[in-house]
């Protein structure tokens, strides 16, 4: 993109100057004006992560609810490798995997930064985001299992919470991002909201406030942030869906 201030305008004719100016402005405006679409599902934490990032940066977008039992041709075209939501489409180009999407949003719209600027602090943030990404798929096992498998899932979940409590959260810091939430807080959203629903569905308690006091404090603070609070799927509605799923999964197989 040309730097209008330092460009040498001498000797340029007026028509050429106008064209150069319009092209430059167009390049500056186009990330904002180009259409942003999000393919997601209302109860997915991965989908919510993208919504929060877009809203925190004030980016308008078109939301498209996907039916995962009947995936749209658009979803299959935009994410042929994983066939999953969320998919962000910017100016017709798809970006897949929620963390990849969030980093793209961060780099394309730098206002209200969601990652530290210092390379070392950013590396620490990315470490915790990877930790969350690796461990998040284990937490829903709580509502999908029973008996010994459930006990094992609960043990794994407890270890995850313990690690975040001991190593991830710094005493006195309100959020992973300091005074404001950042991409690390967003990455741990399942712990803050969905975990409680999984526990209810399974009839088991893992996230005990007295065992994980810092994490409990953090979760309450996280859910009180206006953008999060106003864009969090209703726990009762998630409960209803997951309870049905659990019943289907654990139903005795007919001979």
């Amino acid at each position: 993109m040309m730097d209008l201030a330092s460009h040498d305008w001498r000797g340029m004719n007026l028509r050429f100057m106008k064209r150069e100016i319009y092209q430059t402005l167009d390049q500056a405006i186009s990330p904002i004006m180009a259409v942003v679409k999000l393919l997601g599902t209302w109860l997915s934490p991965y989908s919510c992560k993208v919504i929060w990032a877009l809203k925190l940066k004030g980016i308008p977008y078109e939301y498209i609810e996907e039916d995962l039992s009947n995936k749209s041709p658009m979803l299959l075209q935009y994410n042929p490798v994983h066939k999953k939501i969320p998919v962000l489409v910017h100016d017709g180009k798809p970006i897949c995997e929620s963390t990849v999407i969030l980093r793209y949003i961060e780099e394309t719209w730098p206002q209200n930064p969601l990652l530290p600027i210092d390379p070392y602090e950013r590396a620490v943030a990315l470490f915790w985001i990877k930790y969350a990404d690796d461990k998040n798929p284990l937490i829903p096992k709580l509502y999908r299992t029973t008996g010994e498998e459930l006990e094992q899932a609960a043990k794994e979940c407890s270890e995850i919470l313990g690690t975040i409590e001991e190593h991830g959260l710094i005493e006195g810091k309100k959020f992973f991002g300091g005074d404001e939430i950042n991409m690390v807080d967003i990455a741990f959203c399942i712990v803050a909201h969905w975990l409680g629903v999984f526990e209810e569905v399974a009839g088991i308690k893992v996230f005990e406030p007295h065992k994980f006091p810092k994490l409990n404090s953090w979760a309450q603070n996280f859910k009180s942030v206006p953008v999060i609070k106003e864009n969090l799927p209703d726990a009762d509605k998630i409960f209803a869906v997951l309870k049905r799923r659990r019943e289907t999964l654990l139903a005795p197989k007919s001979n």
Binding site: T99, V100, I101, V124, F127
Partner: protein
């Protein structure tokens, strides 16, 4: 341990190799400290208390963990030489997507090839080759995943190449027969000094894998 760059690593680790390649690409001098993973050092446990794993990159006394985080850190701090990630945000997103794919799929499907037998192994081989074919498709006619230049996805994937011989021996199959373009890409990468010096010898890797199998009680 103030100042300088230290790498805690284990010679056959594909993840450690990624960091060795990135450091070599940027011509960074560093101290390499081989770790004994059966008897983890106090240093390792102190530097990576969460996972207790290698590689750990230590810069100015501060640890960075997770190989792709380390590669991105190296790329950011030593940005004036051999850039690994492209400048354009969309191309960066594409590179991160495929590096993430390598992380999610390659290690697990490769491990299943040597850990299983019979029908399970056949399924594992099929999945492993399927993943490689997807990567081949992404490579297309480019010299590297980074386009004309060696880049982030190349760094993420090429270390697995020195494990291919071991997988082939265990699974009794030829990766080159199934994915010739990918092998051509790997050999092209091996022409680079940074890659050739960082990857372990495939025969030694196979020897190490045989020891691992014994330890796991796998025939």
């Amino acid at each position: 341990m103030e100042g300088g760059v230290v790498l805690l690593d284990f010679w056959p680790s594909m993840f450690g190799m990624r960091v060795r390649i990135a450091l070599a690409e940027k011509e960074i001098k560093y101290e390499y400290i081989e770790q004994d993973l059966r008897n983890k050092s106090d240093l390792l446990l102190q530097m990576n208390p969460v996972h207790k794993k290698i590689p750990v990159l230590v810069h100015n006394g501060k640890p960075i963990c997770e190989s792709l985080v380390q590669v991105q850190y190296i790329d950011e701090v030593w940005k004036n030489q051999a850039p690994l990630l492209p400048a354009d945000p969309y191309k960066r997103a594409t590179a991160r997507f495929w590096a993430d794919f390598v992380d999610k799929k390659m290690y697990d499907s490769g491990s299943r090839v040597w850990k299983t037998k019979g029908e399970e192994q056949e399924a594992a081989k099929k999945e492993f080759i399927g993943n490689l074919k997807l990567l081949e498709g992404e490579l297309g006619d480019n010299l590297y995943f980074g386009g004309d230049g060696f880049g982030y996805v190349d760094v993420a994937l090429v270390p697995f190449y020195c494990w291919f011989y071991a997988y082939e021996q265990c699974g009794n199959f030829s990766i080159e027969a199934e994915c010739p373009k990918l092998i051509a890409w790997a050999k092209r990468c091996m022409q680079k000094e940074s890659v050739a010096k960082s990857l372990a010898d495939p025969e030694k890797v196979y020897g190490f894998l045989l020891q691992l199998k014994k330890a796991y009680g796998i025939e």
